[in-house]
Symmetry: C2
Amino acid sequence: MGVHRCRRCQADSVIYMRQHRLALCEPHFVEWVERMTLGFIKKHRMFEPEDRVLVAVSGGKDSLSLWSILLKLGYQADGLYIDLGIDAGCGYSKRSGEHVAKFALQVVPGAKLHLLDLAALYGKTVPEMAGRRKGGRRKLCSVCGLVKRHEMNRAARELGYSVIATGHNLDDEAAVLFGNVLHWEAEYLVRQSPVLPADDLGLVKRAKPLARFYERETAAYAIVGNIDYIVDECPFSLGATSLRLKEVLNSMEDRSAGTKLNFYFSFLRARDNSLFPGYERPDLNPCCKCGQATGASGLCAFCRLV
Amino acid sequence: MGVHRCRRCQADSVIYMRQHRLALCEPHFVEWVERMTLGFIKKHRMFEPEDRVLVAVSGGKDSLSLWSILLKLGYQADGLYIDLGIDAGCGYSKRSGEHVAKFALQVVPGAKLHLLDLAALYGKTVPEMAGRRKGGRRKLCSVCGLVKRHEMNRAARELGYSVIATGHNLDDEAAVLFGNVLHWEAEYLVRQSPVLPADDLGLVKRAKPLARFYERETAAYAIVGNIDYIVDECPFSLGATSLRLKEVLNSMEDRSAGTKLNFYFSFLRARDNSLFPGYERPDLNPCCKCGQATGASGLCAFCRLV
């Protein structure tokens, strides 16, 4: 192979993206990430400059990079940090929140950061909510996802944001797709998309502007940009199915560069070319307590939980 | 776990099927395989007792087991062996043919075995046909598949069989499905099925009665039944994509028994529940030389090859 040089300026200190056979020096890599993100936002009509975007930030590399990129691209992007109350002996949520707060102060001082503390609002942390459920800790990840989706949506509605942006990267999306394919869960498959539209029951539009980037690319972007993110994975995610699926995809990627990219993008193309028939969303009703859309009659899953 | 005992007769020498949590002694295993095959044939309306079935036999465990099972179940099943002319320094086709001939004479003496020798018919073996193509040996597997499909169909039509049965097992089908999913090849995905109907351009109905069995189950059936099959894989299959995909699926199966079964059957269910829209077959024409259906105008891919 020889030494890689930046395709733009021939510099010899580069970030090499094997799946694209593309080597770029740090400044050109940053420029590339931002330009590709802009293209992806436009292609999927995620949002316009006049939209108020709420970025769900966890303190990790993806969401902090996303917030930074959106602001650099000129979008109106504020942050939302949900304190899930995960301690697990390492003060995980507390440390995550500190990374977010520091980032907001130092890197994006013009933007707003909204803080939402589950324990203060509902008297319970996510592990406490999950602990009361059958399945206990094994269900924690699904409870956590449910809570985050509900609270992101509630916050966006109450604060007047038209779009929620999350930092999901290609590795995340490919793993979810792989999981959905292993069980052929039609409803999830048909709905998996880098952008989900708003509905008339108060679901706010959601977008994943980084879904075209490998995890190592978002990590490189964060490192190059001196973004001080929380490196640890959530302590509860160890052994989670999503990590196992990522391992399998990583081993396939190692053998054949571009596997994840092709898997995800060929899926999006097949979907756009009507591989699946028109998806009929099941009838939804407003939750009788919080008002958010639910397939259940009466209380939504979140309100039954808290 | 303790020692497994036969679920039927409590015998302690058993074949254990982890994905079904089912242990059966040898006689009950054989009975189980045959009963499940019958159920699968009926469920997918593969063929009826009055159909004349042509079993494509390679000399391997799957196809020889299939032939034996179909006869035991009372179907009219004859064999077709295609001598592909693969030598590869180990006389692969020659040895395979010997296994088939011996099996036909000793195990199913009432059935007919049709032999078809490519080199005698077309003056070329499969490696010779593939060698003339761009891509050479790497294309050999696809040329071999093309040739087998063409010749099986031609033989079935000329000899008056209404169905072609092949020995594909669950590992084969899951690997093909996995490959199709990795690239979201809509046309292949939509058509992947344990049974493919005949069409009015002379395509004979095809069925895969063993597609619900793991490879280790068809191997166990062959071993228990003293079927003397060729154990080696085709020497050209080493490094083939399908083997890599099988490895990945095997590693997932090791971690979670039933992965392959769930993957394949949830796909079939999703398809039956209209996950995919009505498939519009592209317009086909009869080949101007052999008369078999082709998407090309003029010569079909097989006739262009030979």
